[in-house]
Amino acid sequence: MTAVRYTKNILIYVCLIILAVIFAGPFIAMFLVAFQANPVTSARDIFNLNFTLSNFIRVFNESRLARWFLNSVITTGVVTVFGTFFSSLSAYVMAKKDFPGKELIFWLFLAVLMFPAHAWIIPMFIQMSRMGLVNTYWPFFLSGTSSAFGIFLLRQYIEQNVVSDILEAARIDGCGEFRTYFHIVLPTIIPGLITLAIFLFIQWWGQFMFALIMTTSGDMYTLPVGVALIRGVAQSNLRFVMATTAVAVLPSIVVFIFFQNYLMRGVVMQLD
């Protein structure tokens, strides 16, 4: 019996390691090229690594990578912070309050949740270019800080974790709505807020088509647009492409390492 179990476990680990190669392999290959000192013309060249950081120094000096990085940090940062905050405001009211028109607003949020981006992207581009906001951060701020997904995620979290009796007690003690929200509701739902913030970060750090349409000047590209449009000499130099991509991927990996439990919980919450 134990021998059978032993063999079975070995088989399981073999599968796990093969899968690890499939899922982490592409990222490892990316780093191997990015750190390679010799020119890489073919994958044959990556097996003898001659370690260097110079590719990273060169892409920062010779391309607009630093600028793209900054653009991504600003757009993603604002969207993440304000998107989480605005969603929590709506979510709290939708979970705990009754008022005329609530039903209508619920259906509004649900409809928006199910709109694919293509349903509004063309007129939004026209609107933004008429207002002179193409090639600014405003399209990102306006589009990203309203997250229907976030409202539903947090509404559910508030329903499950904020006890109505406490809100009622606070009200009887003369605690105003704003104080109740900031001192009782927000501290209680911090894990939910972190989960939503990570989803918004992932979504907007990687946002491509929207950013491609709303930015036409190289100085306003976000990382996905910059990376996708590397052309010409740089594209033929694989080391620079991979160094640029590695810089773009790294923040996601860091966020993932620190917050993966929140993220995994969020995936599960979407199904309830």
Binding site: I12, C15, L16, A20, I22, F23, P26, F27, A29, V33, S42, A43, R44, I46, F86, L89, S90, Y92, K97, F99, I105, L108, L110, V112, M114, P116, A117, H118, A119, W120, I122, P123, M124, F125, I126, Q127, L142, T145, S146, A148, E177, I202, W205, G206, F208, M209, I213, P224, V227, A228, I230, T245, V249, S252, I253, F256, L263, V267, V268, L271
Partner: protein, 288 residues
């Protein structure tokens, strides 16, 4: 009605205000405009002329629309079943308490957190016919090079492989949550009754997870219908339009040819395809 009640309501509306204003401005009004524009011949200059259903009629007569439509469907046909099957198998594999399991689970989840564009740039090189890592490894194993992205026969399937690689990452977690809801006692009972691992997988796990599988399949289909980034970065829609999809068609007409009316008509078609799936998903989620 008391004054206090009215004050409370106003505060509710105040809390909702940021979202409602933003939704009107960047979702509902643009959505209405998309539908309006789809009945016009607007090309960004001058006033839009109402042309009825002409955009839709034109679209149905363009071979390139049908090419994009078929490619989009085929992409979903390649992607969805594989994403579900591998996601489920991996969930079963990692759903056990062995040392290091948490590490492996996290590792498999990595592709999901990475942007499609970055992933596409990496895979564009892995798939390169003469110099890419995959063909170099195949060569060492004595297998002839495969024209992953350079042959119209392979290109769409190659993009689907990358999509599956990313979807599986997410679906594994979805199924893992489903498996952990089933409970160990059911399996123990089956083992006592003499069921083998494979038997309990086919006769218990699969039927019990069927609702989860349906929802995951719909979510994956919705994503597949919107594929754009992979084709844009890896193949530019080629070779011979073999990776040209509906969103790519919308992008070209809207943002390269400035045919806003025609692009809006495609947007309406895409919207109907995706919205009906979303409604189906809502209904199924509620039934559970």
């Amino acid at each position: 009605m008391t004054k206090g009640k009215r004050l409370e309501w106003s505060i509710c509306y105040l809390f909702l205000l940021p979202n409602i204003i933003l939704y009107l401005l960047v979702r509902l009004i643009p959505f209405g405009s998309t539908i309006f524009l789809s009945f016009t011949d607007w090309q960004l200059i001058g006033a839009p002329n109402f042309i009825g259903l002409q955009n839709f009629i034109d679209m149905l007569q363009y071979p390139v629309f049908w090419k994009a439509f078929n490619n989009t469907l085929m992409f979903a046909v390649y992607t969805v079943p594989l994403s579900i099957i591998f996601g489920l198998l991996m969930a079963v594999l990692v759903n056990r308490d062995l040392p290091g399991m948490k590490f492996f689970r996290s590792l498999y989840f990595l592709p999901y957190v990475t942007s499609v564009v970055f992933v596409a740039v990496i895979w564009r090189w892995l798939f390169a016919t003469d110099t890419g890592l995959i063909n170099v490894l195949l060569e060492r194993a004595g297998i002839a090079a495969i024209p992953w992205l350079s042959s119209p026969k392979w290109a769409l399937f190659s993009l689907a492989i990358v999509a599956v690689w990313q979807n599986v990452s997410f679906n594994m977690l979805v199924f893992l949550a489903g498996l952990q809801g089933i409970g160990k006692d059911v399996y123990e009972a089956a083992t006592i009754d003499g069921a083998t691992g494979v038997q309990s997988f086919i006769y218990m796990t699969v039927p019990l997870l069927k609702p989860t599988m349906t929802v995951a399949a719909i979510m994956t289909t919705i994503n597949s219908f919107q594929v754009f980034d992979l084709g844009y970065v890896m193949t530019q829609g080629g070779p011979l339009d073999s990776t040209y999809t509906l969103v790519y068609y919308l992008y070209d007409f809207g943002f390269r040819y400035m045919e806003m009316g025609h692009a809006s008509a495609v947007a309406v078609v895409l919207f109907l395809m995706i919205f009906s799936l979303s409604i189906l998903q809502r209904v199924l989620l509620r039934e559970r």
